[in-house]
Symmetry: C2
Subunit: 267 residues, 2 copies
């Protein structure tokens, strides 16, 4: 990397993280579409999807990764000064790693979250863009880990729960799934959307509504989603149990349905 | 730079920008103190000030820069995943450039600002840290430049003016200087502090108070400050004139006093 890349100097860029299974990046098309939308917003020239697709495939193959993760980083490229002027076009970086960052017990016993000490500003135009300005998320993860949690959870400026540091939030209430709406300060996750589709396809009602802390406290069960760890049963917030304090039955059913859906998508 | 440096991956780092005059970085000690405070907040191991001081001097000398700018970037170093774990200690980058990014007419005619379309969240713990998460500032600069302005200006969540994209704000009211307080969402600038000291030393009253847009509209004059361009006369906000719409007399006097102070500091 150049030491004058604007990705480093200002976080002037975007990224996507994908799960690799059987040597392929899952939901690559959806991730590339979100990357392209972010690039359009930031006015970073996008690379042709076909080139990105090929670069991803070549990188996975060259590193011989069967199961693991892939990160795609697109920056505005080299250039100094705060004005978004790139001197020589965008920079693309692809990182791959074998293995995934979880312990099996986390899925059996459930994930525990900690409320972040600061809020997500839902009025920021950057909420909906997966930019390299990821330090609030890093700090929320640090706070959560320091308190013995697995993930940090953000309130937005209105005091509603909006998303985890690296995950989206779902709860079950009267049998229906509820997840915070896109304008609540969340990054709309690819897995969030896939889980909504999966649940609806299986006949479950899914609503996008604001979630107060009290509402989560009274939920029948809850889970988090992201592209690497997919569906994570959520069993505690700041040591207070969610639902019965164990992974819930609908969470388990959706995990199974999601696995089947992935298998079908790969074929 | 490594392609797994957390500065690039997450904006997990800090920077300082200084003016070089006569081959020396101005107010280096003050910038290094702010860097150290930010590093403590982010829990990034800091390098000994003596080492940083020497690295700065060597870089300026090696590049033979008499007048220009220097940027010091400190990241958490290499490491993947959102948790702030560095695998091999921090990364330090020093960039130097000859020349400064202004046109002489800007000082004669004054700088024109544009209000950003989005606000600064003064409750964020990152406001007071000069982190690599600089994209909101980049976007505010883009908006301002696209509208023919020289700099973007942020409102905070309370609707008060807090700072420019890369500058602090001062106005004159009944002969006194007013600048927004440190908890209003600003990055407390080194030049802001030096100008406050300079003004007070010359017998001017300086107050840290919230500045509504109406208050700026009624100001006798106003200016912006930063480390590279120092004191910039502010003459218009969104095409509405500030004061008489020309650089003000106190601004000119402070520019002169600031120059003298710098000269004394260099000796």
């Amino acid at each position: 990397m150049s030491a004058t890349d604007r990705g480093l100097l200002y976080g002037d860029g975007l990224f996507e993280t994908m799960r690799i299974e059987a040597g392929r990046a899952l939901y690559l098309q959806e991730h590339l579409a979100r990357l392209a939308a972010g690039a359009q917003f930031l006015q970073i020239p996008s690379l042709p999807p076909g080139d990105l697709w090929q670069a991803v495939a070549l990188t996975i193959a060259a590193n011989d990764v069967a199961e693991g993760s892939l990160r795609l980083t697109l920056t505005r490229g080299e250039g100094t000064g705060p004005d978004p002027v790139a001197e020589a076009g965008p920079t693309l970086v692809i990182n791959v790693r074998s293995g995934l960052p979880y312990r099996k017990e986390q899925y059996l016993n459930g994930f525990r979250v900690r409320l972040a000490s600061f809020r997500r500003d839902s009025s920021s135009p950057l909420c909906r863009v997966k930019s390299l300005n990821f330090l609030p998320n890093v700090l929320a993860r640090r706070e959560a880990k320091a308190a013995g949690g697995d993930e940090g959870l953000f309130l937005n400026g209105e005091g509603n729960l909006c998303e985890g540091a690296v995950s989206n939030l779902f709860l079950r209430e009267k049998g229906r799934l509820i997840t915070p709406p896109e304008d609540s300060g969340i990054l709309p996750g690819i897995t969030r959307r896939m889980v909504m589709d999966t649940a609806r396809g299986a006949g479950h009602e899914v609503l996008e509504e604001e979630i107060t802390p009290a509402r989560l406290g009274q939920a029948e069960e809850a889970f988090l989603t992201n592209s690497l760890l997919e569906i994570m049963p959520l069993v505690a917030v700041d040591e207070r149990p969610v639902g019965r304090g164990v992974p819930g039955p609908l969470t388990g059913r959706l995990m199974e349905l999601y696995r089947l859906r992935k298998g079908a998508a790969r074929r």
